[in-house]
Each structure stands twice: as structure tokens, then as C-alpha cells.
Symmetry: C2
Subunit: 686 residues, 2 copies
Amino acid sequence: MINEQLLNPKSIVVVGASDDVMKPGGKILKNIVDGDYKGDLYVTNLKSDEVQGIKSYRDVADLPQNVDLAVLAIAAKFCPQTVEVLAKQKGTKAFIIISAGFSEENEEGAALEHQIVETINEVGGCLIGPNCVGVLTTNHSSVFTTPIPALEPMGADFISGSGATAVFIIEAGMAKGLKFNSVYSVGNSAQTGVEEVLEYLDNTYVEGESSKIKLLYLESVNNPQKLLKHASSLINKGCKIAAIKAGSSDAGSRAASSHTGALASSDLAVDALFKKAGIVRCYGREELANVAAVFMLEELKGKNVAIITHAGGPAVMLTDALSNGGLEVPAIDGPKADALLEKLYPGSSVANPIDFLATGTAEQLGDIIEACENDFEHIDAMAVVFGSPGLFSNAEVYKLLHQKIRDCKKPIYPILPSVVNVKDDIEMFINMGNVNFPDEVMFGNALTKIYNTPKPVMTGLNNDGVDVAEVRRIIESQQDGYASPEVVQSLLDAASIPRVREFVSDKVGDLKNAAKEVGFPVVMKVVGPVHKSDVGGVVLNVDSDEQLVAEFERMMQIQDATGVMLQAMLSGKELFVGATYEPGFGHMVLCGMGGIFIEVLKDVSSGLAPLNQSEALEMIHNLKSYKIIQGVRGQQGIDENKYAEIVVRLSNMLCHAPEIKEMDINPLLGEGEKVIAVDARIRIEK
Amino acid sequence: MINEQLLNPKSIVVVGASDDVMKPGGKILKNIVDGDYKGDLYVTNLKSDEVQGIKSYRDVADLPQNVDLAVLAIAAKFCPQTVEVLAKQKGTKAFIIISAGFSEENEEGAALEHQIVETINEVGGCLIGPNCVGVLTTNHSSVFTTPIPALEPMGADFISGSGATAVFIIEAGMAKGLKFNSVYSVGNSAQTGVEEVLEYLDNTYVEGESSKIKLLYLESVNNPQKLLKHASSLINKGCKIAAIKAGSSDAGSRAASSHTGALASSDLAVDALFKKAGIVRCYGREELANVAAVFMLEELKGKNVAIITHAGGPAVMLTDALSNGGLEVPAIDGPKADALLEKLYPGSSVANPIDFLATGTAEQLGDIIEACENDFEHIDAMAVVFGSPGLFSNAEVYKLLHQKIRDCKKPIYPILPSVVNVKDDIEMFINMGNVNFPDEVMFGNALTKIYNTPKPVMTGLNNDGVDVAEVRRIIESQQDGYASPEVVQSLLDAASIPRVREFVSDKVGDLKNAAKEVGFPVVMKVVGPVHKSDVGGVVLNVDSDEQLVAEFERMMQIQDATGVMLQAMLSGKELFVGATYEPGFGHMVLCGMGGIFIEVLKDVSSGLAPLNQSEALEMIHNLKSYKIIQGVRGQQGIDENKYAEIVVRLSNMLCHAPEIKEMDINPLLGEGEKVIAVDARIRIEK
């Protein structure tokens, strides 16, 4: 419920402003003033008529009408009344409450928070916080923290679930030249959380005008479906999103809960969600800053990188990082390479890495970049590593780099490692509007992480093969608990998932017909007795009518026998497909090979339902055991399309049955085109 | 061949000194002067009588006698003659040649280099370079680059195979407060390489006086055995070593070769060597700097870390990083925890992470650290995350931290993220002699990497079970190529590696006796024909005397049959053990499960021969399939000690047979205590 009054207010009031800039109420006013805010600025303070040289009102009731945005830096208990007056009497439509003492502290605080949200919702206003650092846009710096980073319309939109972490991320980003368009610290997310800010950015996105870079710091995902929807929508519009979701380990989750009171979602589900949305997942501030800096440059359109350097070591380490992450540093040769080599000093190399020696000049760098842009067609991007041993300035080289980054149609990544020796030159370079990667390996890891993040998948729910009415009918007839074998079978049938056919009869003729239908060999099991094996009630590999008749007659003599069940004796590799329901996320579907692969090697892929065929295939391809599914050592493989189809059908069926909290088909036997469910379990909880 | 004249020269001459400090010969003189060198300093320059205010000699022949160290910054072609005069006439025993144009450039340069080494070796002197940045010790700053980091006896000894990379690593380290005792840029390593410097540091190590921290940057490992010997020796004396070996990827290796002309060693062998030596392997400069900064603090003696913070986010991310790396952030509770909580502001938490809020004071931090040191016995270390929102200074907190780091008997890791907001306070903290970790996740990754690096293994070659004389006799009798089955068998026997017994005879009675010895079922194969299977010459599962006789009679009728071979029909899981010879490294031994595990899942462990039992067990434990070796799903496992014993015997046998360039035993069948070689291949190359 972000609104224009929050982002571009015509007037702001700081409630609880102070002369003391070591206090939040003093610092936030100072930041707004220092940030050269262009609208009307009001302040209130119970005890002063002037704060920081600005006329102060003692009571919000005395403020002029229509103050767009109110920033509250007063004790929690005074907030509801203040909000009431501003919202209902003064026409204020946007609120930032930096004060703590609300739901993060106790029940009482939660009640105050609830009251404030009600009031603001009544007037259709927007609330950021409480318990937050504030909001920073190109129009106003309503945060009580420093530093205030460089703000520009094409900088990153940064939304953070933690105020202090936002500050530290800004600090890490500034050192790399990261620019920001906006920063939102959502605090307790009482009305507006990370997902709602993202929703607004999506709904108001204008190509060519809106920033394309979104950075998120989350300690919990409160609304996974909203995050998925708007993140993938923004990415499909050309945006790039990177996010940290902290609390990925079990211990980390406890740390997250103790901090925010938020229950952490299962981490595998977060992974699946980010993958589906196309979000680049980061695990630390430095990593996020590196990824964001890559976002600020031209997009990489291929996988071939030229490394241009005047120092070998970093080029070698970068080559390792890129290669290990799936990018390539391909050889460069041929007459055009020879022509380039002519322009460099003796001893240079253009083989890639292109090494133009410690004595290399700005002019030579220009020649190299032009050759990579125009002559070496297989090169998609350039990483320029240029430090200094401290003998002379790098200003000329960095100015050239600045120009080339803007003019070149291929991305150029500047890696300037000499943060001490040419500190001033790097500062100049960053102040000219550039980013810098001080460490080539961290850059390489960031670039390959982006390269390896799949594009978002917009899966429309596809009901092909799923009898939705039947699924609902079955689910509604069930109680909580594990479903009976018959119910499991009918659900598999409703999803058109092939399963092993079973025939039960007390007439030997029926069973002979059934055996004809499924083909020998077959399995026979007595029906009636509970412990079938113990009473000799299970026989495998029955392979003739004669044997069938003999076993039938024997089994029917077993105590409590009411009939005999017959099914095909199947062969093939054991596969597995299962799902768990994660509140908010929906069903997380897992697949892989069964037996030791799942039990010992933990070789599973996961995805969020609904899944389409290409997502399911991708999951199968990501298995370590994929080659076995393809067929190795002379053994027949499994038709991966058939397997994927079952994964898709299962995921689609589950979208109509949120009451299924856990299910698995294990084993699913696969041999060539035959992929058949042999056993399955389903747990229902309404 | 490092000597005292290099490290602590009474006199230095800079040959080719210049007034122009933008030139190496000018800058190196300036650095020596600025570094407050205490001995006699001479300079030579062909054209001047004074350089930078110092009397200059036009000819080295005019220099006084006994100049300890000569630093050469003159063209390559003039170096041999200059070295000759200094070494033979002036008693100079240490040389640093920063000039390029030697073996790294062409054959001519290589000849000059060779000549210089000969001259210096004749007088028993030391040569660093050529083509290097120089040497930095606490006594003199003979490098032509900046920055000159803080130098102190307990700082790191840093040896680098690349000059520019050394500079960038120093720059990255300085930002974290890293101190140095010495820096060696070995350039072309004409006489003295990374390994030789390490050897010197090992041989001259004095407990309590020598620095305990060694950092290495390598683009090639020229003398793996020397590196292994001295690295593990130093670590056993209490030192810590971290190293980057660049060129780990295939493409990276090409980059390394193009740069240094050195052939990159196989990366897996490097990994195995570092593991055996106890070296912490790093892949980038920032990572190395973080690991080195951890080295500078008290050693971690357990796995339980308390995270102390006033901002939740970094604590959550750090918890994730530590947990994922195998360290723990255990809960803290009980009466002593309650007592600590009393001392903190309301809303604080001591559960771990210990969160003492944005308003937390230095005094409270002191209380927390004392409680972690004395009251919470299960806590082994503390990570203190303390940034700033920019409202006030952190100086008091950082001063307290400085004191506690020195007084506390448990390690305290300072994570100060606000590199912008409290830049000056962090600078003060670093200048007081501390290190800082600006990013908690990079710190966490560094700490867990150190934690997960095993201690060095000093494997004395153990010949138990290996008949060395027999191994040599066999090897010496062989030609190059694949050894015959008989030779393979006798080598396995000489190493006491159990193998499947084979009996060959053309008399059925012999075979009947053999079958009695090994027990039915047995396998029978015709001897004579090449393609045995094609002519029906292989029968499995022969399980009676009758069947044996029948098959014998049939087989002897096959064309070319000269007899029949009989062996036990074994069952069990397929294992694998193999080895390749890496020049310089020796044999790299690989082990794992056979079949799909090695072929598809690439699940192998590696180690450098000789291996002892605990190393071999560690290799087995590191397999992903280890649980299968232990026995899963009701199946019998394999006696891992028996398997390890075979790995050990093989590795020991190979130490006596460097002519074996490749070998593998595949399969090695394992079932309970029975682990038996079924098939093996050995390639000999002399």
C-alpha cells in the first residue's frame, strides 16, 4: 500500500524532532534537511518552538492541513493518538514509524501496532514500520541512519527486513560504487512488508523510467506467493533481483526467530521459490553487493569472457572462478589476434587472458577492448583487471575504462584491486558513476551465480490429465490421517498417474483372465489375513497358468482368506516422487531415484507446485544420478519425459488438494517408456 | 638458500638507483630510506654522483668491501657481470634482482639467469628473483612497490610466486589489519622458490621468536615433496599456513602457464598435498586475507561459538555460515544466563546469538564477554558483531574489545561492519594492532575452512606386509607398458593384497582339489583361446563336482584349449582403489566404490602416498557412499579397516615403484571381512 505521498511527498512532518542529532528524531530531521528535500518540512516537539532552526509545533493538531508524510520518532504509546489526528484531521496518507516498542516487544505493543494499522487502513494510507530505520528515495532521506548513499533513478531499489542490516549492506555497497534509487526498511511490516513493496514496484513499473535492480534482505518470507508473483513479473519485465534470505540453517532459523519473532520457512522451499521466480540467492552482504554491482552493468549475453590484465595472478584466479562456475575463458587466436598483439609491448599475450604487462598503457587497453568488441566475435564480455604497484597513477586508464563501459556494446567488468595504492583513482572512477570489484574471485563467483540462476517460470496451472472434480470429491470424503490404499489409488487415477494394476477375486478364472491382461510373470497375494508373508500368502514370479491355479488353491486354504490379489511382476529402476506442503509456499515437490540415492546420497531435486514439463525435466537433469536415468553400463534408461509427466501431474493434482500435507510415490518403477507407481502414501490434514 | 645477509643485512647497495621514484630503481631506494633502514646504504648509477641525496658510485667495482645485500634494478644483460663483481670481489652474499628479461622472456634471458645462479652458488650466496618485486622484512623494505604494510615479528611471513598479486594481497590484507613479518616475491625462482623460503623458515624456526603465520601464493608447485615436508613440519611446530594455488581449473592452468611458463600440476594432487600438509587452501585474495586474519587471533579449541551482536541480521547470516561449515552456535541458558540477562536492557536476548540491542553499551559487552569466558563453559569462542547506524561513535566499545581480545583466554573475533559510519573508529582499532572482519559471512567461511582443514599427517613409510625386494625385482624385470596378469598378481602378492585365487590345470583332479580348497560355487575359464566368452569358455556358478567335470571335459575340446582356470565365485560390493603418478608429487591414490559410484557419481577420495591407516580411513569416511560401505537397508557392510589396509599397502608398495605410472584394482569385492582384489591393471613406464 505504498503510495505517492510516501515516495514523493509535497510535505513532511517529523514528529518528535530533536536538536540532538545523536538521537533518531534529531538525525532523521538532519538527514532530510541535508538531503535537500524540496517540499514543505514541518517538525513537532512537545517542549520546543524551534528545532534545528525550523519552527516547531508543540502539538500535531496545530499543523497545517494536508501534510503528506509523517515520520514518527516518539514513544510507542503516543503513536496511536498522533496517527489518529494526522490521518483523520490532517489528511496525512503516509507514515513512517521508526519508534520501537510494538509487536516485536510484547502483547501490549502488538495492540498499539494493530490500532495504528486500523487507523491508517481506514484512510487508505500507507505505513512503513514501526521499528524501522525509515525510507530513502531520490526525493527525501527519511532515515535516521547514515550513510546516505548516492541516489539516482537507475540505482537499486533495496527493501530490507532488518534496519541495521540495511545500513551495513549500504556500507558494503558504497565501497563498490553501488547506487540506490530507494531504500525501504520495513521493520515490523505491520501493514507493508517486503512483498508489498515489491508488489508496488511491479504494479508501477514503467519501462525506461523505473529502476531495473531490486535487492531484498529477508529474515522470513511472509507471503511466498506474492513474492513469487511480483518477483517473476518484474524479472520478466527485464528487472534483476537478488536477495538474501537469512536463517537458512537450523541454527540460523533459531537466530532469526529470536530476532524478528518470525517463523522461518523451510529453507528448501525458499530455494525452490527463488529458483522459480528467477531471484539470485545470496548468503552474505559482500556477495549481495557484488551481485548488485554486476546488475548495474550491461547484461551478459553469452558465456565467453575475455580477461584483460596487466598482472597474471588475478587473471588466473578469475579464470578458475569463472570456469568452475560454468563460464568460459576461450582461446583467442587468428590474424586479428596477431594484429592486436602487434599493438602491444613485446612479451604481451593475447591468448586470453590478454596480458598487456605492467607497462601497458591506456591506449593499449583501448585497442584491446575494441578488438574484443569488434574483432573477436566469440567474446561476450570483458573483465579488466587493472591495479597498481604504486609507481604511478591509474587515472588515465580508469578514465578510458569509464568511457568504454558506456560505449561498448558488450559488458565490461572493472576489477580494480589496488584499493590502497590508487585509492584516489578508484574513488574518482566510482564518483564518475561506476562500480568496482576489488576482488576478482568474488566478482567471478557473483557473475557465475547470476549466470546459473534460471529465468523465471510462469507456470499456468495445467489440468491436463487431472480430474479436478474427482480429486476434490475424494479429498472431501476423507478424514485426517493416512489415506487407505484404495483412496491412494483413486487419487493416482484421478491424476492419470499410471500405477500397477491390481485384481482381486475369489474365482480362479477371473485371476487367469487378469494374468492374461497384465502378462506373466505376476505377483499373487492372499486377501484377508493381515500378516500375509507370515502365512505364506505372498508369491512372486508366478509365470504360468498351472502355477497360478496351484497357488490360488493353496492360498484360499489359508485362514481368513477371502480372495487373492494379482498384479504384474514389474522390473525397472526405482524412482521416487513426493511432496510436502509448506504453509504459504504450497506444495514442494521432490523427485529423484529411490533406494540408496534418496536414502544415502540424498540426491533429490525440488520445485514448487505447479510445475510444467520443462521445470520437471530441469529437476530431473539436476539429479546427480541423471546419467543412470539416461542409462549407463549397457542398461536401458528411463524415458525422462514420462517421468517428468508424472511429476507434473502430481504437482497439478496437489494444487487442488492443499489438504494433502505429505505424499510420496516410492517406488515408481521405470524401464524405458514404462514408468509405473508401485506404492504410494498420502497424508491428509484439513 | 635464504641467508642472514638477505634478511638482516648490515649494508645494502641499490644498483641502478634513480632519482625518479616512478621508476623501480628510484622507488626501491625511497622505500628502503622511508623504511628507516639502520645499516649502511649505498647506491650506484652510471651517470650520477648522487641519487636521492645519497652519494652514488658509477661502478660497482668502486663500492667498499663486504656489501651484504645487492638490489639490482638494471637491464638484464648487465646483471651477470655486476653479480660477478659483487659476489667475487665485494663479498656480497645476497641478491635481489627485480629486473625482468630473463627466463620468463626467452632463451637468451634464460642463459643470463643461469649464469647468475652459477656465480651466486659458487660463493654460497642467495638470489631472490629475477623478475620480482623484492623482499620486505622488519629490517629493510627492499621492494619497488607500495604499500608497505605494518611490519612486526609476529606478523605473517608471506611468500608469493607473483609480484603484482603479492601487492594486491597486501592491499586486501591491510584493510583487515593484517600485519607482516616478511614478504618474499620470488619472481622466476631461479635459485630460491617458495619451497626454499619455506624450508628456511622451517629450519630456523624458534618457538616464541618466529612468526607462526605463513601465507603462500603459488602458480605452480615446483617441489611438492619439499613443500609437504616443511609445511607439515612448521604446522607441527604450531604454525598456521594458508595458500592459494591458482590455476585449479583447466582454463586456469592455461592462464597460469601463459603467465609463468610453469606447467601446472594436476589440481587434485595439489589438494591432496595441502590436505596431507595441513595447509588451508584458499582460492582468492579476500578469502586468504580473512583466513590470515583468523590466524592472527587465539586458536579455536572447540566447535561452539557464541555470537554477540547488537543487530540481528548479521548474527543470523553468520549462524548460517558457521552451521553450514560444521561449527555450532549452541543454545545458552540456565541461571548464569539469566544473571547475564539481568545486566542487559529489556528486550535483550542471551539465548545465542546474544543480542544486546542497538542501545547496548561497552560495559554490557564486557559483561557478556566475561560470562562467555567464565560462566558458559561450553562456549569455545566469541564472534562480536558491532556496527553503527551512524548516530554516535563506537570508540569505547572498540577499545573494550581491544582489551578483551588480549585478556580473554578464548578467541574473540571482531566483526565491525560499519566501514563507512565508524571508519575512524575501525581505523583506530586496527592501528591498535587488531584485525577486523568487515563481512560476517566471509569471516564465517574462513573460520570453518580452517576448522575443516585436517592436521598434518607425518606418514613414515611403513613397509608392513610389503616385500620391497620382491617389488623391486619384479619392476626391474619389466618393460614399459601394461603388465601381464601374472606380473600384476605377483605385485599384489608382494604387497600382501588379498586377491582371488586362481588355479590352472589340464588335469580334472587338480581342479577338483582346487574347488574343495576355495569352496563351491566356482568360476571356470578356458585357458588358451583369446576370446573366451565367444567360444563358450567362461562358466559362472559351477556348484558341484559333477558340473565341474562336465564343464572341464567340454572346455578342453575347445580349439586352442591348454587347460582350465578355476577361481572362487565371489560376491560382495564392488570397491575400487587406484593410483596415478604425478611428477614431483609421487603417487596419488584414489579409492571409492566401483560401478556407478566411480563412473557416474565420481565419488572418489584421494590422498598422496604413502598413506597410513588413519589417512586411508579418513578417505573412506569422506566418500558420499560411506554409509553403503557401512551397510544400509539390511545389507551387510564391508569391514572398513580391511579396505583401508589395502589402500595403505598399495600406497606403500607404490612408494617403492615410481615406475608404476597408473594402476587400479577394479573391482575389489568386499563383504564383511572379506575384501579381495578380483581384477587389476598396472602400467609401467621407466
